[in-house]
């Protein structure tokens, strides 16, 4: 019998439970290579490309654009050309019966939700996933981000690591109070979170301003950072896109904010209205604008980066890697130059400031490799 492959609703991130096809890029009857983009999948957070898991011919589009279905539901069928229509019908019928049965079972399983813990540094919201006895990875988002920035990456690493993505103060569901906003203060906030969760040392992954925080952790408590993975980090040069920082703080409406968010990605089409709405939901909260201004004043006064952390990074004895999108419009990729020889630098073409979202699979592999995984 010819090989038939189910195309199913992918799971982008631990919290994703459903999604829809925003658009099909292949019509039934078209030949598809493995890894080729065949559809856009839209979730409440982001629109992302769906890459074909197999080579063959797209035989059926089971799901029409716009219809919301649970993760794992059948959206289409790819098969070798010799598969008959009857075989494909039988395949679909069998898949649907099995999926329904498993779904009923799975409904009792809890989905991953962010949790909150009080620490001496304030209330922290975090999302934990993965075996509790495995080596820990801590994810630190950038200015204006939150733990959802790791939604594509975290599940890929949660199989073999104890992963914790947290919201920095002033962000997401963590405290909106920011007494001190410098990297050292934010590092202490992360360390307090690790204390509260019983994590002695962790592989630290930081993005943008969170990269500067990661370096500050290595500076404050080098024994608690097992390795550093820095994605488009702040702290390695003085340039910063001041228009982005100001625009992000000031945008109150979707139209303004969409234009600002688009500068984060090499492909602006990744920014859907839902993503904008999710960021607006954060920005609408009382205290957020003030917290963002406090952070921006501390980190990026007069449109320049205030904290130079190259020397601190050089002193860190553990393994370090720097990951940068070549099309980064927020912090120039040139900041990755001139680092110590031991620092591994990885550059991605056609990627902007958000390599962990734009190239989640590759970035996850790099982090796992540095952390001593396979």
């Amino acid at each position: 019998m010819a090989k038939i492959t189910a195309l199913t609703m992918p799971k982008f991130g631990l919290a994703m439970t459903e999604g829809m096809v925003a658009a099909w890029h292949k019509q039934p009857g078209e030949t598809v290579r493995q890894g080729e983009e065949i559809a856009d999948i839209e979730t409440s957070k982001i629109t992302s490309a769906y890459e074909s898991p197999a080579a063959g011919v797209l035989r059926r589009q089971v799901l029409a654009p716009g219809e919301m279905v649970p993760v794992g539901a059948l959206i289409g069928v790819i098969a070798e050309p010799e598969a008959t229509e009857a075989e494909i019908d039988a395949f679909i019928a069998e898949f649907l019966a099995k999926f329904e049965a498993e779904r009923t079972e799975a409904e009792t399983e809890a989905t991953a939700n962010p949790e909150r813990v009080e620490t001496p540094a304030g209330l922290v919201q975090y999302l934990a996933a993965g075996p509790a006895d495995a080596p820990a990875i801590v994810f630190i988002h950038g200015f204006g981000g939150d733990l959802n920035n790791w939604m594509f990456l975290q599940p890929l690493l949660a199989e073999r690591f104890r992963t914790v993505a947290l919201d920095l103060p002033g962000h997401g569901g963590s405290t909106k109070a920011l007494k001190q906003a410098d990297p050292a203060a934010l590092a202490r906030f992360v360390l307090a979170t690790m204390d509260a969760l019983g994590i002695g040392a962790a592989h630290v992954v930081g993005h943008s301003m969170g990269g500067a925080v990661a370096i500050a952790i290595a500076q404050e408590a080098s024994d608690r950072a097992l390795s550093l993975s820095l994605i488009s980090p702040a702290g390695l040069g003085s340039d910063i896109n001041a228009d982005f920082i100001r625009g992000f703080i000031e945008a109150k409406r979707a139209r303004q904010l969409a234009a600002v968010l688009q500068s984060l990605f090499a492909d602006p089409a990744l920014v859907g209205r839902e993503m904008v709405e999710n960021v607006l939901r954060f920005k609408r909260l009382d205290g957020v604008e003030a917290a963002l201004r406090t952070l921006a004043d501390a980190h990026f006064p007069d449109g320049r980066q205030a904290f130079a952390l190259r020397e601190a990074l050089a002193r860190f004895p553990g393994p370090v890697q720097v990951i940068w999108g070549v099309q980064d419009q927020i912090i120039p990729p040139a900041h990755a130059e001139g680092l110590a020889e031991a620092v591994r630098v990885h550059r991605f073409e056609n990627v902007g400031h958000m390599a962990h979202m734009e190239r989640a699979t590759e970035v996850a592999r790099l982090i796992a490799e540095l952390a001593g995984g396979r």
Partner: protein, 342 residues
């Protein structure tokens, strides 16, 4: 973040603003309840329990039970707003506006203009609207088009608990008179609502979902009806954008026009009576400004031009349903495609 009902979302918005700002006061019939009567204080919290608990937290100084005299207490609230308070007055059912409309449209709405821009009137009037509550024709109307017609008033019609909290806090902080509409059958609807205070700006529509074939603009409770219709239509391969204007004054016409330019088809769902309502207003403005984008005639889904019937069967038939909306969308899709001008 936790699940909250529409009722809890409104209550929390009022409580948090009263905690933040001592000039925020509540007034209305039974908003505390039981004033001057023996028995439990604060027994009512309004006819549907929306303001329950606020009188015991803030006292009778800030939660004022008023006589059944809308003309007096709405007028008093307008005057108090002019003199520095931020009153939130409850006009129990919007159907009662007839007895206090002078205070609203000749006084509160005009102060800013008639005093040369020197007067602020930070007044909120909360009021219940809508059919489906078996409350007959004098307690079931959707009179927001009448307020939308009057310059100087802002008109807010939240479509969910999240929207209600953010829009009510914005209304209280706004320096102009705001009429805030709460649909009585939505009070038990639940969704995730942040615990912290937040504001949603007026005049910016919400894209509830995005599609390619048809734009459905829906007002207030009709947003959930339109979303159900869009779910059903998606299974048939018709993909709909659902737009919630949030506020009818100011109205985010730009988002509606942008969406119509994308889809070329427009269906407007409004629970208000069909003549001179929000649907007719939006329809006229879209025809005037984006006629070239339309591939098919605009359709409106509204109740018939009658009072809301008291017979439950007739009342149910009166309200635009997901089925009716879906049928109208199908007819729009089926109408011969007009060659839209390039």
């Amino acid at each position: 973040m936790s699940k909250k009902s529409f009722r809890q979302a409104v209550n929390e918005a009022l409580r948090q603003e009263m905690e933040r700002d001592p000039t925020v006061v509540l007034m209305g019939e039974d908003v505390g309840g039981g004033m001057g009567a023996p028995g439990e204080d604060d027994a009512w919290g309004g006819p549907l329990g929306v303001t329950k608990g606020l009188m015991s937290q803030f006292g009778r100084e800030r939660v004022l039970d008023t006589p059944i005299t809308e003309s007096a207490f709405i007028g008093a609230a307008a005057g108090a707003a002019l003199r520095g308070l931020r009153p939130v007055a409850e006009l129990m059912f919007v159907d009662f506006m007839g007895v206090c409309f002078d205070q609203i449209f000749n006084q509160a709405a005009k102060f800013r203009y008639m005093f040369g821009g020197t007067a602020k009137t930070p007044l909120v009037i909360r009021t219940m609207y809508g059919a489906g509550f078996r409350a007959a024709s004098q307690h079931s109307q959707c009179l927001y088009p009448i307020f939308t017609h009057v310059p100087g008033l802002k008109v807010v019609i939240p479509s969910s608990p999240y929207e209600a909290k953010g829009l009510l806090i914005q209304a209280i902080r706004d320096d102009d008179p705001v009429i805030f509409f709460e649909h009585k059958v939505m009070y038990d609807d639940e969704e995730d609502v942040p615990d912290d205070p937040y504001t949603i700006p007026f005049g910016e529509a919400r894209f509830v979902r995005e599609g390619e074939d048809v734009t459905i603009v829906a007002i207030g409770r009709m947003v959930q009806m339109a979303s159900k219709a869009a779910d059903a239509l998606a299974k048939e391969g018709i993909s709909c954008t659902v737009l919630d204007p949030r506020t009818t004054s100011p109205l985010d016409l730009q988002s509606i026009l942008e969406s119509v330019q994308e889809t070329g088809r427009l269906v407007i769902v409004d629970e208000a009576n069909p003549r001179c309502n929000i649907a007719t207003d939006i329809s006229a403005q879209v025809v005037e400004q984006a006629f070239e984008s339309l591939k098919a005639p605009i359709r409106m889904v509204c109740p018939p031009h009658t009072p809301v019937p008291f017979s439950p069967a007739l009342e149910d038939a009166f309200i635009p349903s997901p089925e009716k909306i879906a049928a109208v969308v199908r007819s729009v899709m089926a109408s011969p495609t007009r060659q839209a001008a390039a």
